[in-house]
């Protein structure tokens, strides 16, 4: 319900009215509609003085969405091309309608319309009659197409943030509204339920509509050009009650030949992520080749390639053990590190590399052991000296000169042979070097350890799970409705977080829709205090919700206000 001053209310109640109105226009080049709507009055010093075009306007037709009138402009002041004041009716020109009573000061009047001209006004000069007329249509702020077409992406909001904060952000950032232009409560009492929340690829109007939908509100711009709301819950007090039919000019039940909505489905994402378990299954496998050269092997085993799969109750199954060789060389263990992966650890026993090292060292050391035989010769190779026939043991000994110019010379010496000590049979027998035996033993040890090198295979089994948002639904439908008569309306809103909230929206919306098909039209004496969304009571007790208002304004005449509405259903 629009606020009106007490003095204006007194005049309305007295029914002794001398209706007055004014149409103000502003040049959009000097001021914005936001400044006009934010200003406390039309003649405020913070905004340029408006042009009063009331004297030029006739046949004024007003509705909550549109103001149209005919300009009588004999001096061509508002001609779109040449008029001196053409900017006041140009594209984007800001117009306001203020209504009151002649007996009251203008400060007590109410602003019943604020809007802008879209495009250009029609202008016609007829030679046969000499009339110069211009048709002017001014549209309310809610008809601004930029609010409804442009796609936006808001900043992100964390869990617990009130929806009203996002709404005000959209209004200020994407609709150019100041806080003074928004009459919606800053806190709506509903919070974002999800971790990160953004509105993306929606128009600003869709954005604020979906935010207000959670509290069953419908956005609209009021007569002062300020953003406000209609509460869809019809269980609220009446704005006005008509005590009798004195002021009522007409009461009509218009024909309505459409199928009404009888089923409302509200779809929302549950705020809490729910765990969804899968069947017990193999989550991953691992294999490793290990042995003496590796003390520890740690094998990470993830449940999915992208490391995102969660699992619980995991355990390892050994397909092929590291101990499946000749020697048990180590231990195998498994531990789940977190919900995404586990770790298999293969620990090789300490003695394995030690043994391998010792064996290798023994093998090398054994290579240095000299070969021993049973011969008494101290030479490693027995020497058999055989003199030429007939020498009888005599030999020529020659000294070989070393160096340049040194000649080989004959030397004189004796060689004593002891044929009894040198036996030909002793130097041609088998020899078994001790070093080779020791080397063979060392090699056997090394090979045994090497033969224990093997590839082990493991599998990890468990119960995979994931967290998913549950898409829940609340359906309000007419009781006893046959399947084939359902006429459904679906509301999808992820800002709804619980079944309780969704239930409220579904029932409220169903009652709203059922009311909307029970259309009513009332014509009463003009009452500037009534607004769209108000509920009025008529004398027989019925309640009417106002969906639209319209009237034709003439000088010196109390207009008839046409109320298009619907019957309110009560619990």
């Amino acid at each position: 319900m629009r606020y009106i001053s007490a003095s204006l209310q007194d005049v309305l109640d007295s029914r002794r009215r001398r209706p007055a109105y004014k149409i103000y226009a502003w040049d959009p080049g000097t001021v914005t509609i936001s400044q006009i709507a934010s200003a406390t009055s039309n003649l405020n010093s913070s905004i340029p003085m408006p042009m009063d075009i009331t004297p030029y306007a006739s046949e004024i037709s007003w509705s909550d969405k549109q103001l149209s009138f005919t300009m009588v402009d004999p001096r061509n002041l508002f001609h779109p091309d040449t008029g001196a004041y053409r900017n006041y009716l140009g594209d984007g020109a800001i117009l306001r309608l203020v209504e009151g009573d002649e007996v009251l000061a203008e400060t007590d009047w109410v602003t019943s319309f604020t809007g802008q001209i879209h495009g250009q006004v029609g202008w016609k000069k007829a030679r046969n009659t000499g009339n110069i007329t211009a048709k002017v249509s001014v549209f309310g702020r809610g008809e601004t197409q930029a609010y409804k077409r442009r796609k936006i992406t808001t900043r992100e909001y964390t869990v617990g943030t009130d929806l009203g904060i996002a709404l005000y952000d959209i209004c200020e950032t994407f609709m150019g509204l100041t806080q003074a232009e928004v009459r919606i409560p800053f806190t709506l009492g509903r919070q974002f339920k999800h971790k990160v929340n953004q509105l993306s690829q929606v128009s600003p109007w869709e954005g604020i509509s979906s935010l207000l939908e959670v509290v069953c509100y419908l956005p609209y711009f009021d007569g002062e050009g300020k953003l406000t709301y209609v509460n869809k819950s019809l269980q609220r007090p009446m704005a006005k009650v008509l005590a009798d039919y004195v002021r009522c000019v007409e009461l009509e039940v218009p024909e309505n030949s459409q199928d009404g909505i009888n089923k409302v489905k509200v779809v929302f994402l549950d705020a809490a992520l729910s765990r969804v378990d899968g069947p017990y299954q193999k989550l991953g496998d691992a294999q490793v080749t290990t042995g003496f050269f590796s003390m520890h092997e740690r094998l990470e085993c993830w449940w999915s390639e992208d490391h995102k799969q969660r699992a619980d109750g995991t355990s390892m199954q050994v397909i092929k053990s590291v101990n499946s060789g000749l020697l048990p060389v180590g231990d195998e263990s498994y531990e789940q590190k977190d919900e995404f992966h586990g770790e298999i650890e293969v620990a090789i026993s300490v003695w394995v590399p030690i043994l391998a090292t010792v064996m290798a060292m023994a093998y090398v050391a054994a290579a240095l052991i000299p070969d021993n035989t049973d011969s008494t010769s101290t030479q490693t190779m027995p020497v058999v000296l055989t003199g030429p026939e007939g020498t009888q043991g005599g030999f020529n000994l020659m000294a070989i000169g070393i160096g340049v110019g040194v000649e080989t010379a004959e030397v004189v010496g004796e060689i004593h042979l002891n044929p009894g000590a040198v036996q030909s049979a002793e130097v041609v027998g088998f020899t078994i070097p001790w070093g080779r035996v020791i080397q063979a033993a060392a090699m056997l040890g090394i090979m045994l350890i090497m033969m224990s090198i093997g590839s082990a295979q493991y599998e990890v089994w468990g119960t995979p799970y994931d967290y998913a948002y549950l898409e829940k639904m609340s359906i309000a439908m007419e009781d006893g409705l046959d399947y084939w008569r359902e006429n459904e309306k679906e509301i999808k809103n992820d800002f709804v977080g619980t079944h309780d909230q969704a239930d409220t929206i579904a029932v409220t919306e169903l009652v709203w829709e059922k009311s909307q098909v029970r259309t009513r039209r009332i014509v009463i004496e003009d009452d500037p205090s009534l607004e769209v969304g108000d509920i009025i009571g008529i004398p027989d007790g019925r309640k009417i919700l106002i969906n639209g208002l319209s009237k034709k304004i003439k000088r010196g005449e109390v207009p008839s206000l046409v109320i298009d509405g619907c019957k309110v259903l009560t619990p």
């Binding site: 459409q258 199928d259 489905k265 994402l269 549950d270 729910s274 969804v276 378990d277 899968g278 069947p279 017990y280 299954q281 119960t463 998913a468 948002y469 549950l470 898409e471 829940k472 639904m473 609340s474 359906i475 309000a476 439908m477 007419e478 009781d479 006893g480 679906e490 079944h499 969704a502 239930d503 579904a506 029932v507 169903l510 009652v511 059922k514 019925r542 019957k567 309110v568 259903l569 009560t570 619990p571």
Partner: protein, 161 residues
């Protein structure tokens, strides 16, 4: 009926994507051109009496989907022929539906009744596995076996895996 409503319905009818839950094990069947394709039944949810879409093929580039288990959420896309195909896994899952029945008599409305519908598929707990073994009728159930439950927690059936 406003033009806007009609347009909204038309847009909804032309939507090319929806979500559902896998409602059967995957199986193969021959499509119209004789090729073997993987398919399964998909529960579209929504509280309807019969909301299961039968023999929904898996899009050929999504073989991994066939390893998904019953109850998992999948995304369906409308193919050029108008048929639906499973094109991937979904991060959301159709869940319970709260139905509220409202009567309208003259100018008075009244909430008559309400009930929850929708199935929940989850693994059977140790306790449930214990109570379902022979001689109670289901035989020995391995750990990890899943069951379909109503919103009140009553077991409806054991789900094939």
């Amino acid at each position: 009926m406003s033009i806007r409503k009609i347009i909204d319905w038309a847009i909804q009818d032309q939507r090319s994507e929806m979500k559902g839950n896998i409602a059967s094990p995957f199986y193969q069947y021959q499509d119209a051109v004789g090729s073997w394709v993987w398919a399964c039944d998909v529960d579209l949810g929504g509280g309807e009496e019969n909301s299961v879409l039968r023999s929904v093929p898996v899009a050929s580039n999504n073989r991994d989907v066939v390893y998904a288990e019953q109850g998992k959420g999948v995304t369906l896309s409308r193919m050029g022929s108008g048929k639906w195909a499973i094109t991937g896994l979904s991060k959301t899952l159709n869940s319970t539906v709260h139905m509220i029945f409202v009567s309208f008599v003259d100018d008075i409305f009244q909430i008559i009744s309400s009930r929850m519908v929708g199935d929940i598929i989850r693994p059977l707990s140790y306790g449930e596995l214990g109570t379902l073994v022979a001689p109670y009728g289901y035989g020995v159930l391995p750990y990890g076996m899943q069951g379909k439950f109503d919103p009140d927690g009553n077991l409806i059936e054991i789900v094939e895996s």
